[in-house]
């Protein structure tokens, strides 16, 4: 099995602060982390490799510093990492990002399964996984919560919907996006960390993956961000209720009733 896990480096927003003047996120000195959802994709890839044999390749597109998430992936069980990094990739929307990743997957060659996270926590689009599948014209399954088994050229997965699950069989090669329920990621081992330190992470440019420059970066992105603004603040007159528990409960229920909420 040749497995590719797509990993994005995202800003760690646990200390995200908004500048009171400009109403922008303060990014200076902000830590960047592996997209939390991608840790589940990686773990699933490593588990499948352990069960069926083969190798796990961590693939990321981003700034040179995104190399860090690939090393992290190696310390948690990936065999190697590949970084797509070049000016020409900058400004890519989900169309162009999934194009570049798909070209890299073609270049890697003979890939059986691509695993992505459910979504990235910065853009929150969940579009890149199905986008890769579409560029490659491969089958896909999204919101996967279990991989039940892999045969010669098929994989059986359990997909999650709002009010149901389904089990389906896809032909390989295929693309999966996985939810958090699928597994519990392992903690990197010392051996893994050493391997990660020693690993060479090749950096691929557009010409290395045979990408059409018109389909990359801003050129290749149909969408344009024309404006960003802080969301309207909630107009709140907080109604404060204090007192004995029974009094509080009474006041709350009365208020909810008045507002037609219960």
């Amino acid at each position: 099995m040749k497995l590719v896990v797509c990993i994005k480096q995202v800003p760690a927003s646990n200390d995200a602060k908004i500048d009171p003047e400009t109403k922008r996120i303060i990014r200076e000195g902000q830590k960047a982390i592996m997209n939390p959802f991608d840790t589940y994709a990686l773990e699933e890839g490593v588990r499948l490799k352990e069960k069926y044999g083969g190798e796990v390749i961590a693939l990321s597109m981003g700034l040179p510093k995104a190399e860090a998430v690939l090393r992290e992936a190696i310390s948690a069980g990936a065999d190697r990492g590949i970084l797509l990094s070049d000016r020409a990739f900058g400004g890519s929307d989900t169309w162009a990002t999934s194009y570049a990743l798909a070209k890299a997957i073609e270049k890697i060659g003979d890939v059986d399964l691509v695993i992505c996270g459910k979504q990235a926590i910065d853009g929150d689009t969940a579009q890149v996984g199905p986008g890769i599948a579409s560029h490659l014209d491969w089958m896909q399954a999204t919101y996967v919560m279990a991989v039940d088994g892999i045969e010669a050229d098929t994989v059986i997965v359990k997909r999650m919907h709002e009010d149901s699950y389904d089990v389906c069989e896809l032909r390989l090669p295929a693309v999966l996006t996985v939810v958090k329920d699928i597994n519990t990621p392992r903690v990197p081992t010392l051996k893994g960390r050493l391997a990660a330190q020693k690993s060479e992470i090749p950096v691929w440019k557009p010409e290395d993956i045979g990408a059409d420059p018109d389909k990359l970066g801003l050129n290749g992105s149909p969408t344009r961000v024309v404006k960003t603004q802080p969301p309207e603040p909630r107009h709140i007159d907080t109604l404060r209720i204090e007192g004995a528990p029974r009094e509080c409960a009474r006041a709350l229920v009365r208020e909810l009733k008045r507002r037609g909420l219960v």
């Binding site: 896909q140 969301p231 709140i236 907080t238 709350l252």
Partner: protein
Amino acid sequence: MIAKTGIERAEYRNIWVIAELKSGEIHPVTHELIGAARGLADARNSEVWTVLIGAGASAGSGSLFAYGADTVIVVDDPRLNGFQDELEAKVLVRLIKKYKPEVVLCGATTRGRALIPRVAVAANCGLTADCTGLSIDPETGDLLQTRPAFGGNILATIRCPNHRPQMATVRPRVMKALEPDASRRGRIIRESILDMDTGKGKKIIEIFKSRETALNLSDAQIIVAGGRGMKGPEGFKLLKELASKVGGAVGASRAAVDAGWIPYAHQVGQTGQTVQAKLYIACGISGQIQHLVGMQSCETIVAIDKDPDTTMMQMADIAIIGDILEIIPEIISELDKL
């Protein structure tokens, strides 16, 4: 498709809504999107079309007219049984090439979020996820799509000036459906996929229903959510009781989920679900940014906490200061009196 000139763009007309069938019924998000599409189509002097794809889809078309559609394309074929994203995407790309819509809207449900990115890539057009606002330039037909990014800290407005159709997904209950008018009629176009090479599709082996999936929270109107302040699994029993009294669902902070008091399916926030309930009751949740980004667009927020100064208590519409474990049983007995 690339459409760089006004002449090319003028070939694309009408606002499309991709309908979603949920156990044979039209998902409410479809009616909401038709409501939104109506406004856009009126501004452009064009029509609202709805595309209904699935095995047995023909049965579902009636309500679409009542909610404001002018034309419904029905693709009803036994091969479209279960959720075959690859095949549905192929059918949609074909319809888009044939009829050239200006805008395509789809619900940001699990299905919509699987299907539409596939279509957007294959049809070479832009796609904006989870829009909270849509407006159209009546002259150029450019769709202005507003969506939260960076966990709701920024609202971005997005445009796709050189590509048609312009595609967007919208979460359930963000747009408003129109009052249905049962006397409204429209035109039905039946499209067949008989001549299509559908290849060997996905084999759907089994489907099972469950209310306990992580994703149904995002559909709830009332959510009673608990955090570390609930102290343990016992606290969540109280919350479940309260939730069932008000016909709501139970949510949780990551701290409560990590403590093992409630399954991950209930987690709200950056690594959990994003919810848009009418009423969100946060019990013992301090209001860390990762939690807030998942619930800050709820209409009314009630916070119960013994600490009056938490972020959640500051941003709530109603803040109750006190011990939750004492207050909730009292709320339940007050509700029993209603």
